[in-house]
């Protein structure tokens, strides 16, 4: 494999993806900022005052890390699924497929684009959160690594969704029926210690729970799950999904006839 060729090709995709995010900022940056502001106002400020304290923190402070992580996850996923499916639909995926760049470069370039958007939106939501509550980062390395790994997991998942998608409906099904329920049930708005033991165990099968709690731990120092198991889950998912992406690309599933 020609490493320098693939490095240039990967950077080209990342640059193209970043340009796309910035070019259509009204679709990529503004909506999550508005949505999260509404969450902070309604759940944090209005309803949160009545809920009181959760795990020793006021409710606004408790949900802020979860909302930041939720925006990172949904935007990483959404960026890759819409961009790569758009490239398939418009035919310009062929520009990449006919070129000598490796399948890994195509996957990494798009995933990095998704991570970039996730991080960008996450930072914006963090700034918005600071208008409503005080956040102190207790474990910066954990925070950065959990954000990058979580957004990578969902960017990879978005890539797989885009590969299989044949029409625009197909790129909305997974976010609507899988991603959103898992995010809402992933401990963004509550601690799973509030649930009966059976539902606590069910919740532990939800990978988003680990990401939200690991991120919350990096800021508030509190978590429903062990940080070690969160990293293990994240690394297993990154490995499995990346291998899955490469398998699909190598066999041309959903891409080549």
């Amino acid at each position: 494999m020609n490493i320098s060729l693939n490095a240039v090709a990967t950077m080209t995709i990342i640059r193209k993806e970043f340009t796309r995010v910035v070019r259509i900022w009204i679709q990529t940056i503004v909506p999550p900022a508005i949505t999260m502001t509404l969450y902070f106002i309604i759940f944090g400020n209005l309803i949160g005052k009545r809920i009181g304290v959760m795990d020793g923190f006021d409710y606004m402070q408790y949900i802020a890390p979860g909302l930041i992580m939720m925006s990172v996850i949904t935007n990483s996923y959404g960026n890759v699924v819409s961009s790569f499916f758009g490239a398939k639909f418009g035919g310009h995926v062929e520009e990449m497929l006919v070129s000598p760049m490796s399948n890994a470069a195509i996957v990494i370039g798009h995933v990095a684009g998704g991570v970039l958007r996730g991080v960008l939106v996450g930072m914006l939501v963090t700034i918005i959160a600071l208008f409503f509550t005080k956040l102190e980062v207790r474990h910066p390395l954990i925070m950065v690594s959990v954000v990058l790994l979580s957004s990578t997991v969902f960017a990879l998942a978005g890539f797989i969704n885009a590969v299989f998608a044949k029409k625009f409906d197909d790129i909305a099904i997974v976010p609507t029926f899988v991603l959103t329920p898992l995010t809402y049930l992933g401990g963004v708005f509550y601690s799973i210690s509030m649930l009966p033991e059976f539902w606590q165990n069910v919740s532990r099968a939800n990978p988003i729970l680990y990401m939200v709690n690991a991120f919350r731990y990096s800021i508030l120092g509190t978590s429903d799950i062990g940080i070690g198991s969160a990293y293990a889950i994240l690394l297993v998912f990154v490995t499995l999904l990346f291998s899955g992406c490469l398998y699909l690309m190598r066999h041309g599933i959903g891409i080549r006839e």
Partner: protein
């Protein structure tokens, strides 16, 4: 050296459609090669396999000696593709479409910018470089796809109906451009439905039909197989009925336009000798149909009618 070598190439789609039935052909380095055939004959499938957009069912493909099964990266580096369908990102600027393609082939940013300018200027798109490609006309989009395919300066350029829907003036200027890059050493494979285009540009022609190669030879050799040609003569003075000319059949289309069918055994000198003898003055003469087109139709018809013998064989 062979720019492209295809051996026993087969493709059966998932729906059972057999697009290629084991075709063989090769293209010499520096050649200008026409791959012709009716719609659905298998041309685009063959090109798709060569450019790795379509998975083959069987057979071997080598590009400048690089087998696509074992040296795909090296093989792909040699190829530039201008596809049949407009397939660029219509929301990207003209410049970025070409720059991105340069990046996909590993060209550094500085070189990518230089090449982008070179080919956008050559294809008269430099003034539109900052416009989104969506805003270009159909002909401009086709020229942009050529610039995009050339930015890494491939040794083999494959054009799948590059002039479809392009007006005659732009088509002619594209022909000049393609001749120039072929003269400079780029091997070109062209598929087109404009057989005049193939006859004018290409030195070698292969005709594919129903997934099989039915003709593959130098253009001059192929055209020699055409036994009969039909000419349309414009006459200086009106005549009332078609003259009887030995060795030719004639139809009077109107009083100053005569259609003359000529077999390969007779010559134009014979024709004019007889016309002079009958004091019929000819102002101009043209082929009724393009020669390659006539041959192409005959080959396809013969195959479909089940005739085994080709004219002249």
């Amino acid at each position: 050296m062979k720019a492209l070598s295809i051996k026993n190439l087969k493709k059966t789609y998932a729906n059972g459609n057999v697009a290629l039935k084991g075709i063989n052909f090769s293209v010499e380095e520096g050649d200008f090669y026409a791959l012709l055939g009716p719609n659905g004959a298998g041309k685009t499938t063959a090109i798709g396999i060569v450019t790795s957009l379509v998975n083959k069912t069987g057979g071997e493909v080598e590009i400048f000696g690089h087998n696509i099964d074992t040296e795909l990266e090296a093989a792909k580096t040699c190829i530039g593709l201008v596809p049949q369908e407009i397939n660029m990102n219509l929301w990207e600027t003209v410049q970025n479409v070409v720059l991105n393609q340069a990046g996909y082939y590993g060209l550094g940013r500085k070189l990518a910018h230089e090449r982008t300018e070179k080919y956008l200027r050559a294809l008269r798109l430099w003034d539109r470089r900052n416009d989104v490609s969506r805003s270009l006309s159909g002909g401009m989009k086709r020229r942009l796809m050529i610039a995009r395919a050339l930015v890494h300066e491939p040794k083999l350029l494959i054009l799948d109906e590059p002039t479809a829907g392009v007006d005659i003036e732009i088509r002619r200027s594209m022909w000049d451009f393609l001749r120039a890059i072929n003269d400079a050493g780029t091997t070109i494979i062209l598929t087109t439905h404009y057989l005049e285009e193939a006859e004018s540009l290409c030195r070698h022609v292969a005709i594919i039909d129903e997934g099989e190669i039915i003709e593959d030879a130098r253009m001059t050799v192929v055209l020699r197989k055409l036994q009969r040609e039909v000419f349309v003569l414009s006459l200086a003075n009106p005549i009332s009925e078609a003259p009887v000319l030995e060795g030719f059949d004639t139809i009077l289309r109107d009083d100053t336009e005569l259609e003359v069918g000529k077999e390969s055994a007779s010559t134009l000198n014979d024709l004019f000798r007889q016309l002079n003898a009958q004091q019929i003055e000819v102002v101009s003469l043209r082929n009724k149909a393009n020669r390659l087109e006539e041959l192409f139709i005959r080959l396809i018809e013969n195959k479909h009618d089940g005739f085994k013998e080709m004219a002249g064989h």
